[in-house]
């Protein structure tokens, strides 16, 4: 079953009277429980792709569908994790995580147990009553991930989720996400600037061309990961030293560099 599919998707925006093409000819099928990362030069429209799956934007041509249903607007079956977290500053950690469940009409008892589970999953115990501004960036993003996971969504959309975190926190969060993906696999569409991050996390890495963004290359990292047994390696830096990892990282870097030099 295809969880997410882009079918001849095109998106143009109007800016100061003129229309410009942001993404063009996107055909991509993401399988159920598959983790796909999109990398591409700035402004290539990778975030636009994610926003169309989320239902924040609609395609100018073609269709985006999730589980065979055409996307018409945002909904809790497609949880989003934003770069700037987008937590509600006036709600506690507990209430931020609980809002989606309240919207679904989940009964209090079940709601509390699911919130508690999400809090435990993201190692947020003891911070239930804290407000977002009292937490570090990394902690805030854990809350945002918990808020998405608690809904048990079919699809998880992550828009440069670690982009605003410092390097160390970023690595911790990447390891957490790998742990989470093994514990509780979801269909994930992950947008990033970081090639390492994409190769480390994703089953497939999609490289986009510069604007108008098109699919340049789709790289199957999963088969390499399985063959080279990255899964057995505990720490991210050890994976990054691995020859197969370096091979793909360099390959994607070159592919991206070509895009930049054409400008």
């Amino acid at each position: 079953m295809a969880a997410i599919s882009f079918d001849a998707v095109q998106k143009s925006f109007a800016r100061s009277g003129k229309s410009f093409l942001a993404v063009d000819r996107i055909d991509l099928v993401i399988a159920d429980k598959e983790f796909v990362a999109i990398v591409g030069p700035s402004g290539c429209g990778k975030t636009t792709c994610l926003r169309m799956v989320a239902g924040f934007e609609s395609p100018s041509a073609g269709t985006v569908s999730v589980d065979g249903r055409r996307v018409t607007g945002p909904g809790p079956d497609r949880a989003v994790v934003f770069q700037q977290f987008a937590l509600f500053p006036w709600k506690t950690v507990h209430d931020n995580i609980g809002l989606g469940l309240r919207n679904k009409g989940v009964a209090r008892e079940e709601r509390e147990s699911r919130i508690a589970k999400a809090i435990a999953l993201m190692n947020l115990q003891g911070h239930e009553t804290a407000f977002p501004h009292q937490l570090s960036g990394g902690m805030q993003q854990r809350v945002a991930i918990a808020r998405a996971y608690v809904l048990d969504p079919d699809v998880l959309l992550m828009d440069e989720p670690f982009g605003s975190l410092d390097a160390q926190t970023r690595i911790t969060m990447q390891e957490e996400l790998v742990r989470l993906a093994r514990l509780n696999p979801r269909t994930v569409l992950f947008i990033t600037h970081s090639v390492e991050e994409a190769v480390y996390l994703a089953d497939r890495v999609v490289v986009m061309s510069r604007r108008p963004g098109r699919l340049k290359e789709v790289i199957d990292v999963r088969s390499v990961r399985v063959a080279e047994k990255w899964d057995r390696i505990e720490r991210i830096e050890d994976v990054m030293d691995h020859e197969s990892f370096i091979h793909w990282r360099t390959h994607i870097w070159r592919s991206l560099r070509e895009e930049k030099e054409e400008v």
Partner: protein, 263 residues
């Protein structure tokens, strides 16, 4: 004299300069009145006004003491102000969320808000009488627009990701308004309440000059008929003092809101 930004004043300096202004003002007033430059029947001396002010607190004038007139005015103010806030804030938030409502209400509202509250006096008296109803309509006409405008602006300028986060969590319209737009607009709304209270209090006194059988404005009209300049000035001072009290109270509310980080 230095430009405003060039020098930070101490608290004592601020109080000192304030007192200086007041003393200069009272000095000039005393001089004009006592020297006979301005005829005494046009401008009573400060000490005479002060004596009259004190006397008015125990000797009834136009059927009531100064405090009773003030209490009557304050009650009308409270009704009109609360009515303005109770209708203006929800309507402003709704307009900030529902585009259609915005398009329907805005032209009408923009035309009506330039009609000075005092212009409603004839209809206020005709429709609601000169007791409490008429003045309430007039103060409502003064207090309502800032409540609406600030709630509307607050709602319109809520950061896009917060709204998108609420939508992807499946939050319904009513809950978005109450749990996202309202808290995000609190600072703007409270600032609007301050403006609203000032305009409302000014409008009320104007209204009472024409439609009322008690209140500070009514008291001034009676004093005018008696050609009692000291009574008129005492009423003016009372109006100013109550205005300051209202403003200080709302400024404290504003500061409290800011401290809670709801800005």
């Amino acid at each position: 004299m230095n430009p405003v930004q060039s020098h930070v004043l101490t608290r004592a300096e601020i109080l000192g300069y304030g007192a200086l202004g007041l003393i200069a003002f009272l000095g000039l007033w005393s001089f004009l009145s006592l020297s006979g430059v301005v005829p005494h029947q046009f401008l009573p001396a400060p000490h005479e006004v002060a004596a009259r002010f004190v006397a008015l607190t125990s000797n009834p004038f136009a059927g009531a003491t100064l405090q009773q007139h003030l209490a009557s005015s304050a009650l009308r103010f409270a009704y009109g102000f609360l009515l303005g806030a109770a209708i203006g804030i929800p309507l402003g938030l709704l307009m900030g969320w529902f585009r259609v409502l915005d398009e329907i209400v805005t032209p009408l509202f923009d035309a009506l808000r330039f009609v000075a509250p005092i212009a409603w006096v004839p209809f206020a008296a005709l429709w609601f009488g000169t007791g409490i109803g008429g003045p309430i309509l007039i103060i409502f006409a003064g207090a309502f627009p800032p409540c609406l405008i600030n709630a509307y602006r607050g709602a319109r300028f809520v950061s896009r990701p917060l709204i998108e986060a609420a939508q992807m969590l499946g939050t319904g319209n009513l809950r978005i308004i109450v749990e996202v737009l309202l808290p995000a607009s609190t600072a703007s709304i409270v600032a609007g309440l301050r403006v609203s209270a000032g305009l409302g209090w000014q409008s009320l006194i104007g209204a009472e000059l024409i439609v009322a059988s008690t209140g500070v404005g009514f008291m001034m009209v009676q004093a005018q008929l008696d050609i009692s300049t000291t009574t008129v000035m005492s009423a003016m001072i009372a109006i100013g003092l109550v205005g300051v009290v209202i403003d200080v109270a709302l400024r404290a509310l504003e500061a409290a809101v800011r401290r809670r980080g709801l800005a």
